[in-house]
Subunit: 367 residues, 2 copies
């Protein structure tokens, strides 16, 4: 049954040709090659390299029974076309961010990041143990897609500004690059929000077409060289407090896999979820030190009234998602906001309290 399905399915491709000529039971001969489309430029540190690492791990864990060919954004389908490609079976799987598809499903944003929402650790808690995965499955099953958490950037920076932000009125008329619902919140404060891919930010910032841009954080921002144009690097980011990446699999193809290959995909995604966040947290501290010490970047803190304005604008945007959503969107939003409320109270006395305590003045070894 399984073998027949693979041979007639779009995903098999060169599978049969790869099978070894040694005598083996039927199951060992089912070598499958799948296509993974991504939203990332080839080699983009953290994201593209994470997708490659995920694909490579699936091949290794399966002893070569399931190998994954990875396509950069635009190679097989457009960078933002991963959802449709997996839905239609053009690709077997994909690595991108769920919030690229909020035009199709407004609730998809909850599975990446929403402004003033959950951190990476909180999101993992909600998805794995707070009912999030079940809601995500229900949402994407409508499109024949099964999705897994598969990476996270951690808290992103507030971005690069060509002029100082002293109060909320300095935001008026500013042309700023910010995607997603964070961008919707900025727009409520009079910002002209611009959508640009990562590669196009530098030239637009340099020419003055935009007054500022957020991208990810020190690890990626250093490599794109924004410090050559402006030295003002703002914190904290509020728009993406821990952006999850997802691995989408065509559900029909996933369901037809033998049990151990299903487990291998799920485990490889969970491992990548761990390792990609660790890469951002592992490489960003040194990148930030380089920005500050070598490139004389100034770390600028948003004034409190600006942060509060970001908060109220974000609250309006997210209340709109809740109010205007269909039944399933409402259920997802309510589950997310309920978990977030308790998570805030927990984080306040643990992670937030600890990092504040550690910032007090006392003697401690510095290596």
């Amino acid at each position: 049954m399984k073998r027949r399905l693979f041979l007639s399915g779009a995903g098999l491709a060169a599978g049969a040709a790869l099978a070894s000529s040694l005598p083996k039971p039927a199951i060992a001969q089912d070598k499958i090659e799948w296509k993974m489309v991504t939203s990332w430029p080839r080699g983009l540190p953290g994201l593209a390299t994470g997708a490659e690492r995920l694909a490579d791990r699936i091949g290794k864990l399966s002893g070569g029974r399931l190998t994954i060919k990875v396509f950069a954004g635009g190679e097989l389908v457009p960078a933002l076309g991963c959802f449709d490609a997996v839905k239609q079976g053009t690709a077997d799987m994909a690595h991108d961010a769920a919030y690229y598809h909020i035009d199709k499903e407004p609730a998809a944003g909850f599975f990446t990041a929403v402004p003033f929402g959950m951190t990476a650790d909180e999101l993992n808690g909600w998805v794995y143990f707070g009912g999030g995965q079940e809601l995500w499955d229900e949402l994407f099953a409508k499109h024949g897609i099964k999705a897994f958490l598969a990476g996270n950037t951690g808290v992103q920076m507030g971005g690069w500004f060509r002029k100082e932000i002293k109060s909320v009125k300095d935001l008026q008329g500013l042309k700023f690059r910010m995607p997603g619902q964070g961008g919707d919140a900025l727009a409520k404060l009079g910002v002209t929000v611009v959508q640009l891919s990562g590669q196009d930010i530098f030239s637009n910032l340099q020419s003055g077409t935009i007054d500022g841009a957020e991208w990810i954080g020190p690890y990626n921002d250093l490599s794109l060289g924004f410090y050559k144009i402006t030295k003002m690097y703002y914190w904290p980011g509020f728009h993406e407090p821990g952006s999850a990446l997802q691995c989408m699999v065509n559900k029909q193809k996933f369901d037809a896999l033998p049990e151990d290959l299903k487990q291998i995909i799920a485990a490889a995604c969970a491992a990548e979820n761990d390792i990609m966040l660790a890469e951002f947290n592992g490489r960003s501290p040194a990148a930030l030190a380089t920005l500050v010490n070598e490139h004389k970047v100034q770390l600028m803190q948003f004034p409190k009234d600006v942060v509060t304005a970001f908060g109220n604008a974000s609250g309006q945007v997210m209340q709109d998602v809740l109010d205007k959503g269909d039944d399933l969107t409402k259920r997802i939003a309510k589950s997310y906001f309920k978990f977030l409320k308790d998570a805030k109270a927990y984080t306040k006395v643990t992670e937030a309290a600890y990092t504040a305590a550690r910032a007090l003045k006392f003697r401690y070894p510095e290596g």
Copy 2:
């Protein structure tokens, strides 16, 4: 070669008997059953259940070629005897915390948690991408052990106190349960530090033998019922800001595995590293709400001068580890403290700044 080694090794046990009688190539007949010892009472939420989940995942990913039998603490070897058991080959692998073995290797504590050290996310960054794993491998190779990160509790709470802590002098003469280098720091402030297993805390706290105790956090502390004895639950914890659990494997046995089984163990550990932290972060918020709302627990913040005293005492303890260590211990300590210094600067403008910003007053949906 591989098969011979397994058959003569202590770890094979019932392996040959489990092999199917169907005709299969040699590699598919090598069914291996390994013993995993742990430090955990059977069923302990988060830790024991995480070790079980890890063992189960290895079995599933390998399609049953490598199955793991899990032993609770004391069943095969004493709860704190995992290191020796894996070193000597009594067990093939183990799940516990590296800092249980600082008497053998003072640097082992860096791979669990040290007072005022790295959070879970920072530790993952250092181990995977900051040179930590290579140093860990060097340290444990001396004992014939290969170790992987395999879970984390996140930031632990400051613990339960029977009397209020208003200043540093209230710590004088207090009898308090706290393990590890955090306990060493408390001792410098006049606390009589007591070591007790989790099961023994309740009775000692109830009888007044101890004045207080830290255990883990809301998820586990709720189940042990400490709120029945005292309502004062202190934050922030400083002693274990993200305690990593480890999976140790006998290095000779690990090296003899076929490549895909090595990859399966590594990936299963990384997946568990992700999922266990998510379980603590997923279940603790609701547990904290239950403690506060149903059991009327008071969340008490340590005064700033007490936190600063904890900081200076922790700094002295960790400086001692650096100063008195052998060459390898010094190299590990220096790598850790150097990474931590940069990580603090990064966390200050990201995670810490974001959670502080989110705590400001603004309107936001609550589910």
